[in-house]
Symmetry: D3
Subunit: 281 residues, 6 copies
């Protein structure tokens, strides 16, 4: 058995809620089953495990691949994707519907309920579904680049955080894609007065063979300021040769860009605060 | 000084978020300032203090006076509105903007930010704002009437809970209004197969001189089922003589009816789980 | 709806484990389902909810009606058996097998597993099972009588606690039965040097229409000392006219006497320490 | 057994540390033994149990009977001094030296260590020791009189709190003494700009047959402001006919006046935060 | 001083209770003294510290060296047996009787109580006592071999876990002994339908110079199923040449095999849930 | 970005309180702002974060550079002073007055309040202030040298701990200074019967480029015993050639020696017990 090394990582998962019919079901599974399953599995080598509720999608947020449920964050002491870590006494309960609720498979794959889409044949529906890329990224425990707003404290006010992962499409070199992001896109945002803070790190893709290449976090006073910058401010941005869509961010939503809007508030710091699933009276 | 008697109550407050620009600001004040202020004030005679996040407003939910932030719940050992309870060493920090964020006063009353409404004069704006009734109700600690679904357990699945408070308008006797609700409306809902559970209690108005008369909680599998019942199922309901609006619930939203949609999940059980305001890294 | 009065009670339930095949099943239901179900139901008016593991049954402990699982203890602020308290949104999950696991119904009543008793017909089995009396007693929150050992502290050493409930049989007046216990039995124990502590209270039967009449708690250094007192020391005790059995305690085990042996240790203080059901890795 | 009534009280104990040789010993007993002993005893009917460390005694604080260890605070649901509450299974470990450490008995009464006072004979020492009055007061859970600073919040800055209990000497009618405090002393303080807040309540003496008559809490920015008010500002105050000392507060320190200086900070909220006695590595 | 490396380990200790007279004494020492002593010592480099109560010994469990108290589990970030880790400010309180209570030394070595063994002289008793091997094993934090039941979740039902450590006797090569276990014994168990799960790891003997060689965990529905497999199912197993006993497991109980039966339930997760030793009222 | 290595450290900060006017202000900032700021920043790679209140300065404690507020202790998993760790989303709120409160800058540098020093010109004041050396030391997680009292347990009684950091002055070689401490000073203390325990480690200066060279912890029964040893017992100690002061410890207080007196009690174990800043009612 290979020696287990100290490999600290932060990992982030963007969790979507495919429609409102599923939100409380996804919640129920996450809070009553998945949190204790997860703690049981990795408590001794995980140092933080938290949920952050997604804020509502702002106008035009859809084309940034914005998810509607939550961001799940872990900090690890060692690699949770090593072959060694795959042997566990108890496995996580993962109902197939949980994939439907998250929008990772289309409704008709679910054993639980047939979702009727009027006039659509089975074949059409299957064909019309493009599975989103799994928005699960490993990162260094510290941010790599602090591009704007260094020194901000919580006393400077609550933050409307836009966090996104991007993958550069196959028709562009990763280096070229990243140059575009780091030298054209982010500096442009950095100049906008409504942008309070920008941080970014390269995603460590080899841990989980992840799809996405880079993570960016940008802070605003609120969704109006975000709109002013990300939608209006980028309106005249030139589409790169390899762009997939006509408008910024020029990437296929949920395929090559995934976003979440969150506040500073930790919804559930699972290792510290979880007290079981005790429903409302 | 009057003797403090044992007077157990449950009290509920429906908190709205006037627009998305305010959600994280309201959150920040609630979680960083208001929870500790409140615990400091009433910890020794309050037995539960919890927040329940509002689920997104379902289609046509607006005309039921649906709030968008949270339900705040307290259980009290003694009357928190007695003259005795009003003397405290420290008072709660209550920024005037918090009223704006909750939609209780219009934006222009806020010292924090001027909200521009194009072409509107100050007078117009003031006139155009009708303050919502304060949705704060005192209740017995046990539900009074169990109208449908007795015996349901958490194993029967997660619940999409619609909770609402109604006040009967001035042009109808309270008894007559209540007869209508208890003998016409709720029995009609009780017959619908999508309604899993109905509970209701009379609001104890004398504690806080509250506006609302009755609280109802009804459970569905999800918002689609709610829509089928509360919108479609009540479409042909006859408007009572004293009705204020053309369609069910025939009451002015946020004035004589206030609703919230919640799941079983307690977002923050403040007396048990609060650990201070520790923001996301 | 009747006014809810302050009625502080302590209530105790002796939980048996019918055989070792059931212990971990009963545990799983209690810790994964029943604790959160219970907290959800009564958190705001219950002030303590704890489990105390039963110590193993000492030699000859069976004829004292000794249970093998745990003692469940609640402290209440108001009557949990009032008609008002019976209306709840969510009910407790109570699998029928849980009654079998506790020995309250015979195995064949369980839907889960048929327990084969060789050669026995259904009728015979039913007849051969005498259901134990439900060992659930309400008590004042303070002990009524302190008969020996007042002033003992935890520094005097860990205690082997024998706690028992007795019901006086139908063929004796309650007063006469209680006189016998208070004036003959307990004083005799009080004189034995191995008995470190005796406390007793009358059971408040009207709350839950309970079967048992009196609760006694007696402390020893260990099971050998208990044996010396309760078995050997009572050997020559004269059987009362109304006695049901030949030997002390002269009562039918599990019918008119129920015992438990516990230490000072609280196994699970559910309102304070419950963190969900997180199994061993 | 008498019915246990709902009788909410707050009770305060001022704990002194007779000399620095004792502080860590008193701490060790309080935190390792007394907290768990106390929680075990009253957890189900006590709603708050907290320690507040005394700030260092300010210049001339001694003549106000200032204690040097801590204030112990309880909130009760029912009378903890009733005859019923005196029967407990386990009693608190109370080493005789703990009285010496607190200055309640002189050193030579301690079995633990002989404290040498040079040249003093046993008789002299005994005579020279005047035991302080036990500074243990029961109060309503709400303050009775709010004399200055209503509306102050934690955002107005941290508070240097002077809290004191006074007993009117035997040679003055209680009513007359209280008139002097309420109509002469406190109004005089209320006029001083350095006094930020004044609250006071009559002590409920019948619960524990306590010595002290009235509790006052007064807030300053710090000890310099306190000195300016309580020492300099009261310098010319006329001694009442029944005064015991020449200078304000005209009462024998630790006999008829006991003080403590505390901040807003709760040092140990024992029911919520106690985690056992885990010493520094 | 040597650099402290990241060396993650799981370590397990099987704790026996020599007789019932000792169970509550061992409990008292473990919970009131040993837990806080231990946390104080290793809190900053230990990531989990938990107790799992032993289930009662099943029929014929004795010859598998079954312990009767608990399993103590630690997860370490660095080697707790390094010379560096041996310097501590405070050492653990370890009363000599604690060894007697655990059956590690015979009763007569205890200063606390003389245990009478009729007719035995001091010399005989000493000679008749064979100290059990210390059942303390270091393991990788992940199981090495998953031999049966991969994918099982907590929803598949509660587990009756048999965990054992074996040491191959001196008269057999370690490799040969391990071949026997891995290729003959465990595969035989894996074929039995009552065996739900098998996992095993080699013990890392060099950390603590431990006695045992391999750890195995096997899950059943309950003790009857265990009996059917481990006793009846192995009845015809051939004794290996180096076997020490006539029947399976062919090893001297408590010398070369130590077992414990546990459920999934963590009795006390000491780093997360310990709240001090607060005895039952 | 450099790989983050496992580098376990303990770090200690001695925090002074420049005068009593500041104690509650420093407390308020530390407990309401600095703890949550800090937890947010380093929770995932810090394993312990605790405050230990300073005991009052004993007679003549000033010339040992004794601080009056607290010792702040961290245990780290990786280097908190690496360039990588300096990029954070949110920075700590650090009001300039906090430096004044701690005595790190003179009062007049504070923007909050002008401290009047009569007759002093700005220049004089600046010149008269010698900033103390920052008493912040990194240490191995285990003590390096155990010089006296090995084996002491908490049952041996509460400890009066004197902990100090020393820096050898510029006019002496570090090796020579350390030889003096290790071979002359500490052995002399080790021979004194009032000294119960001595431990020492070399400070790891390269982590934070710290000023101090060595940390020593010495335990006594109380401040009288400390005085007997550190003041009286060292009275005749010869001043080394490089000594800066006439009397032991021959070092400039707060410049080359910093001390704190603490007990075993952890005042606030911030990662485990922090529950937000909930002030006294």
């Amino acid at each position: 058995m290979a020696k287990i090394e100290y490999e600290p990582y932060r990992s982030l998962i963007y969790v979507d809620c495919a429609k409102e019919e599923y939100r409380h079901k996804l919640q129920y599974w996450l809070y009553s089953q998945h949190i204790p399953d997860s703690i049981a599995k990795f408590d001794p080598w995980c140092t933080k495990y938290a949920f952050y509720n997604a804020l509502p999608v702002p106008p035009e947020g859809e084309r940034f691949g914005t998810v509607r449920m939550q961001m799940t964050e872990h900090y690890w002491m060692c690699n949770p994707c090593s072959p060694e870590s795959e042997i566990n006494t108890l496995y996580e309960v993962f109902p197939p519907e949980a994939l439907v609720w998250q929008g990772l498979v289309p409704d008709q794959f679910s054993g639980e309920r047939a979702v009727s889409v009027e006039g659509a044949t089975e074949e059409v529906k299957e064909n019309s579904f493009e599975a989103p890329s799994l928005a699960w990224a490993f990162l260094p425990i510290f941010w790599e680049n602090d591009l704007k707003g260094k020194g901000r404290t919580i006393k400077d006010g609550p933050n409307y955080r836009w966090q996104f992962m991007i993958a550069y499409p196959e028709n562009v070199e990763k280096e070229e894609g990243d140059r575009w992001m780091m030298e054209e896109i982010l500096p442009k945002f950095a100049k906008m007065p409504e942008v309070n803070r920008i941080l970014t790190s390269k995603i460590i893709k080899e841990v989980n063979h992840g799809h996405y290449d880079r993570l960016v976090e940008m802070w605003f006073d609120g969704p109006e300021e975000w709109y002013k910058c990300a939608v209006e401010g980028m309106k005249n941005m030139e589409k790169p040769a390899w762009g997939e869509c006509e408008r910024f961010p020029f990437l296929k939503p949920s395929i090559n860009i995934a976003s979440i809007f969150i506040s500073d508030l930790v919804t559930s710091d699972n290792l510290r605060s979880y007290r079981g699933y005790i429903p409302m009276r």
